[in-house]
Symmetry: C3
Subunit: 432 residues, 3 copies
């Protein structure tokens, strides 16, 4: 894990400065860097494409943006921090008084030294986000402020998403989604994007996955909506998913429950926390949040949960320039990765076996499953006789009971059942 922490640190340092948004070259550049970690396929959805109630927006590109005084001093500079620019700002090149500029300035109400993060995606506008002292300085300047936003909207552009599909043995698919539309904000959500790439890498290295995994990197909201619209059939068959967000802060772990609090994904997350002996905060499902808003909507109703470390909305630096590389660390992200992998281990083993010989008992001796007579000790697994486990498993495995359910019924841990399932699969007696 230590090595991964270092690797993650390197990646977040490289990715942090890039200006990402809902569309644009920064997203593509970021996905290209993540491709070094895992073979992410980049898909482009053309601007102007209708996706449910929405339309994929024009691609936004920005080269530079600043506010300069009459002496040529840059008082606000996009190059210093891309958070200064309201994301998706329209182009401007005009010298104006402070009074006119002020309508386009945003400060953080509580943190004087933070640059707040603002967007204006669906209303053409422009703006700058500044610290309190920057605004003071601009106010003092008063007039002859040269405002430049060198941006453009390309109606022939596209929205970029990344996708990794990992096939498993069952027909069941699990969604893992993260968002890549935030500029230089480290916890929200560079942490999630990088962690998800490492998650994909880990799952790709396995050969024993039961379920399939659909791992996507999308701009929040419009990207998730576009992905649903473009992959409607498969998305409508998914039962469970995870949205990876804000996993790198120094604070407490927590998880946002999926809309059905009784869904197994929630129970499994709690199990993971308990196994690790970690304290955690439970955030009940709320209609606000991240892309679970799309994935859990009526048409899809996927139970989506998130494990977080300093959850969005909750930490003071949320959506400010202080959510930076001092706040997150590879170590912290690697810890979250470990929990997500533990969770996926649980989700992945949540399979339903089916006894292929449903009528009466199988003839154990014919399948070399009967304990040899002659005093040899019956093998014991999970504190029970193997023979008992075999008989109970064949009795209960009817294609509708998950291992978790059978484990609960029999009072035997899932590991023991997995070894029985493997034995019986090999004999051709059960199948997924």
């Amino acid at each position: 894990m230590r090595d991964i922490a270092v690797e993650i640190d390197n990646y977040i340092k490289r990715l942090f400065p890039i200006c990402r948004s809902i569309t644009g070259p920064g997203n593509r550049e970021s996905l290209a860097i993540l491709q070094e970690i895992a073979p992410i396929e980049i898909k482009e959805y053309p601007s102007g494409t209708p996706v449910y109630d929405w339309v994929i927006p024009h691609e936004w590109r920005v080269r530079d943006a600043y506010i300069r005084n009459s002496k040529g001093e840059k008082l606000v500079d996009f190059q210093a921090s891309n958070v200064h620019l309201v994301s998706y700002s329209e182009p401007v090149a005009k010298t104006m008084d402070y009074e006119e500029l002020e309508l386009h300035l945003h400060i953080h109400p509580e943190l004087p030294d933070a640059i707040p993060y603002r967007t204006s995606y669906y209303k053409r506008d422009w703006g700058f986000c500044v610290t309190h002292s920057q605004r003071e300085r601009l106010r003092e300047e008063g007039e002859s402020l040269e405002v430049v936003i060198d941006s453009e909207f390309d109606e022939r552009g596209s929205l970029s998403v990344g996708e990794v599909l990992i096939p498993g043995k069952t027909g069941k698919e699990i969604l893992v989604s993260t968002y890549i539309c935030h500029p230089s904000l480290a916890n929200d959500n560079l942490s999630g994007a990088v962690m998800t790439a490492f998650l994909a890498k880990d799952l790709l290295a396995r050969t024993d996955l039961m379920h399939s995994y659909r791992i996507v990197f999308v701009p929040e909201t419009i990207g998730a909506i576009a992905y649903c619209a473009m992959n409607e059939d498969v998305m409508k068959r998914i039962d469970t998913g995870l949205v990876v967000t804000t996993v790198g802060g120094p604070g407490k772990f927590g998880y946002k429950q999926s809309y059905d609090p009784g869904h197994h994904v929630n129970a499994m997350i709690e199990e993971v926390f308990k196994e690790e002996g970690l304290d955690y905060i439970t955030y009940p499902f709320d209609i606000h949040g991240s892309d679970e808003r799309q994935y859990s909507s009526q048409g899809f109703r996927i139970n989506i949960a998130s494990i977080t470390k300093d959850k969005y909305y909750e930490y003071p630096y949320y959506h400010t320039s202080l959510d930076n590389l001092d706040f997150v660390s590879g170590e912290q992200i690697a810890q979250s990765l470990g929990l997500y992998l533990d969770l996926i281990r649980l989700l992945d083993r949540n399979v339903c076996y089916r006894n292929l010989y449903p009528n009466c008992e199988v003839m154990l001796s014919k399948h070399d499953l009967y304990p040899k007579s002659g005093g040899a000790q019956v093998p014991r697994i999970g504190g029970k006789d193997e023979l008992d486990l075999i008989l109970w498993f064949l009795f209960l495995a009817d294609g509708t009971h998950t291992l978790a359910k059978i484990s609960h019924t029999m009072g035997v841990d899932i590991e023991a059942l997995e070894s029985i399932a493997a034995l019986l699969s090999e004999k051709g007696l059960v199948s997924l």
Copy 2:
């Protein structure tokens, strides 16, 4: 309400003396008077028509009935009270001894001054109902008692029912049924018939009804059975109904539960009582009772409840001549009407909206639903942000959750949801 109480008083005074039964001109006359209140359509079902296990009986008409002594004194007189005559009595014109007459006399076992109410619908018979002193007088008279019942049965007659259909916006229909077959008995059930006419009048004046209302005035039992048989298809689609009976006494309010105690109609009645701060008696569903016996039978299984004020069976004057205009009042009936209207307000708003954009979120700004940026306060409804309500409503309104259910899930009152539903309906985002 005071005005309505006076109006009701006038109507019950006019209607009280009319001799009603399961068939006959008295029923038609009564319905004609009720037509002054609401546009009741009168339907005639011909005598002899088979209706399930029953046959619509011949129409009964009675002009006069009395018992006269040899001096020509009328000792018992139908003109004084139509309760004196056993309803549906066959014609008689015979002078007889007391001994012969006695077999056809009915007294009330506990109330010496009351004339009991008796019928003989399905066994041809005749009889007189008298006070204890009247019987004593007849006994003293001993002989030469001239018994006259000037009645007839018309096999070409019909059974009359009244019907008001009030269309709503949803396909759902609610049944309101009352019975009109009792002669000069005020609480049971002149009170119910008059109240139901005023209920119909009130509903007809509304333009905002969600559900449709089927309001019927039938002779008890055979009329309800005939109505079911003649309107089987629509009746089999009805889920909820009310039987209006004994709503005008001076005593306590109560309600008879529908056969499924967990049905929302019962919860809503209790809610109405609680809102009004009224004490009430709960009568569990019983197989005896009024026309819920038909409407709740296996073939229809409508959950039928009744709000009562001095419920049938329960008050001492039940089915006697003392259930008269001294016992009921327009005021008391108007009080019951108020409760029924409150109940219908609850029943009527128990609708299921369906989000017409089930896949992912709608684009709020496109529908002008997004709070304007720039510091304007988000509107608050029912103690919550309007935006929250909109998002939750769109998430939950899937065409199967009633407003009551959504209200319970969200912890928001139905009024707030109704205003959200109206807003979203207007935007074309949800529909009934």
Copy 3:
């Protein structure tokens, strides 16, 4: 019952010495004797027939078996007890040393004087079961031991099962199964086989059975499997059954629950024990046991329970020669029979009536069900007015509610409902 106890005693004395196994003439002979009690039809399933994962084995016949020393003394003799011979032993005729013989000797680890019961059905082998002193004697003998097993396997033989089908009024069938494959073991399971024959006799004598009864006598495991395979369609429609086993010991009554502990068969067994004031042991369903292993397998999922008296596995003489005629008695078996008959009385009355007039009420007077006017007392049944029972019964009997359920809903005992059901059936108002 005293008479039956004596009869049972006679039968177990005759049947005890016969050498039964999974196939062979001893089974046929035993069934022939049981035919004296009830008209059991004997069916033969040919050796070599595939039945699910199994094949019906060759028929085994044994004439004699012994171990003789050089002086011609029989140290172990099948004629003295057929338990001495490992069931299904292959033929042997060889003189050998004790060392060679020892590999084929079986003793009971805890009971020195008992001959243990052993089989080798699915692995061709031979062996003798002996007491500790017999083994000592053989060991002392040391050499020149003449071992003879005069047995044969007939691939053209068959497996014999017995069957009694008793038709009832409903389409529902109840399975009663017992096993006949054990040699001279009295409680396990001569007691069950004889008791089941008497059970069949009793049921055949009744004319009022509601359900049908399928009573089968099979060799354990392979016989039950063969029976399922040969009667798959009917067996898949059965919901409830009983496996009759070990019903004749001197010890405590008990019952093994069916796989669904909430199934009515379990509740009814407890009711029977309680009515009789008997203490009993509850054995939860276990994957080990008798032929419920087949009947409750996924393909059939019949809820099977067993009432036992000294249950298999539980008494010290289990599967030894000490499970003999000193251990069981006709009296004890007759007691179990009484409980089984009580249970069947409960199971049999668990029927669903259907009101043939589902729409509205029936016209009671037309069917002569209305209490006559004129002061005649309404008949009372089970503490309630007959009229109430009739109306409630017609309201609830919709073809899906069992009498037990209606009894619970109405708070009336089943006997009262049965008399109402009989009355209404006779009138043509309800049917099964």
